[in-house]
């Protein structure tokens, strides 16, 4: 009976909502988040710029320098991870942050030195608590306190 099922769910709550931004889900180690570039490992092969499907990574050369280095435009990036997967020197890696917000268009572009920064979620910077996702047979997903 449909009404009985409805009443059963009314009484026993099994919600799996995460109250963002008081709580932030701690993403797994393989999550494809914002990209970070390491300048000391880069060999300027420009394979990342060649394979990017959205033309988000382009190579920039300062006048007078010999090597060109990549810069990224987050307005175009689709976080597919091709650049990370193709870099032969492991200079690009995914961080575990995804919820960064930009306020102006110019903030989207990160060229050479600016590209070499670590990303932290703004909700965490404002004091959110971390939760981890676990599977549960009764409730589907439960969120337990993270580290």
């Amino acid at each position: 009976m449909a009404i009985a099922t409805g009443l059963k769910y009314l009484v026993a709550s099994k919600r799996m909502t995460v109250h963002y931004p008081e709580y932030v889900i701690e993403l797994g180690p393989r999550y494809r988040g914002m990209i970070r570039w390491h300048k000391d490992k880069c060999i300027s092969c420009s394979l990342c710029a060649r394979i990017c499907p959205a033309s988000a990574i382009k190579m920039y050369r300062k006048p007078g320098e010999k090597k060109a280095y990549p810069g990224i435009n987050y307005q175009r990036c689709i976080f597919c991870g091709f650049c990370v997967d193709i870099c032969p020197a492991d200079a690009l890696e995914h961080t575990r942050t995804h919820d960064v917000a930009f306020e102006t268009l110019e903030e989207h572009l990160y060229v050479v030195e600016e590209f070499d920064k670590d990303w932290v979620s703004p909700a965490l910077l404002e004091g959110a608590k971390k939760v981890k996702v676990e599977f549960d047979e009764e409730r589907g997903l439960v969120h337990v306190a993270g580290d």
Binding site: A2, I3, G6, Y9, S13, R15, T17
Partner: protein, 339 residues
Amino acid sequence: MWELIDVIIRLLLSPPVFAPLIYPGLVTVLIILVSLIWLGRKIAAKVQLRYGPYYIAKRLGGAPQLIADAIRFMFQEVIVPRTADKIPYLLAPALAMTLGLVPVVFIPVAPGFAGIVTSYSLPLALALSSLLPITVILMAWSANNKFTIQGGVREAFMVIAYEIPLFVAALSMGLAYGTLSLEEIVEKQVLVPGAVLNPLAAFVFYVSMLMSAGKLPFDIVEGEQEIVAGPFTEYSGILYGLVMGASYAQLYVLSMIFTEVFLAGWHPFIGSLGALYLPLGGLALFVKAYLVLAFSVFLRSVYGRYRLDYALRIGWERLFPLSVLALFLSLGLRVVGVV
């Protein structure tokens, strides 16, 4: 000077002023609107594995959400389409709310305490509440829009389907108790509530009540998916708030009548609390009516929407014969002498 204030307070607390104004009148309707819609959203959210209104007042669970909605409606621009018929377009929502609230004056909350004390309160209240669909059709026609006309036609169909079982079920209870006054009907239910006496009539009245107020599974008139918002498509701002409130007001009036006719009204607290101040005895009535309303709103999370011809078929093929059977059951009970 103090006598003047005494006279004013006595005037305020007298039945013809207290009943329509405070309980079961305007103030109660306001409380019901603000809390019932919130309760409905929270219940639906709980069944659907989510939180309903939450952020507005975290510790209260989002209770002032409706007040925020009402304030928003006040500030929203009221758009009047150029091709609409202006005077009916602007008048009809106010008329709907008024007609939805007028039957309240006939409903007694304690022995002898009603806006207008009459011995025909049951058919009068029901007859007045059946005037509301005319305003809906007026809204639909004046907005001059294909979707609204479809909604108005659906409302016309539904009215004919549910009004007859509603009246016959209510009148069958009147027949069983031998009186048409709501006060006396409640007085006769001291031992046995009306729902136990004539469950057929209770069921028919409840389903007709849902059809009348347009609650799921019968929200065909404001069928959001197919005809945008039915007759209410073109309304925005405070007019929209009024029409949405009108349907809840009608549900409230009908559920008060349901509680008084079938659920023993204001018993059992009338003796104790009634001695203090007569309308306080009607607290049990309010609580029971609220439970009936909460259940009607809960049904929203369980059912989808019926197709129009199926709903009409329910009205004519199932509810109408059942209501006639209820009539005969009442007759039988009366003849046998149970009542």
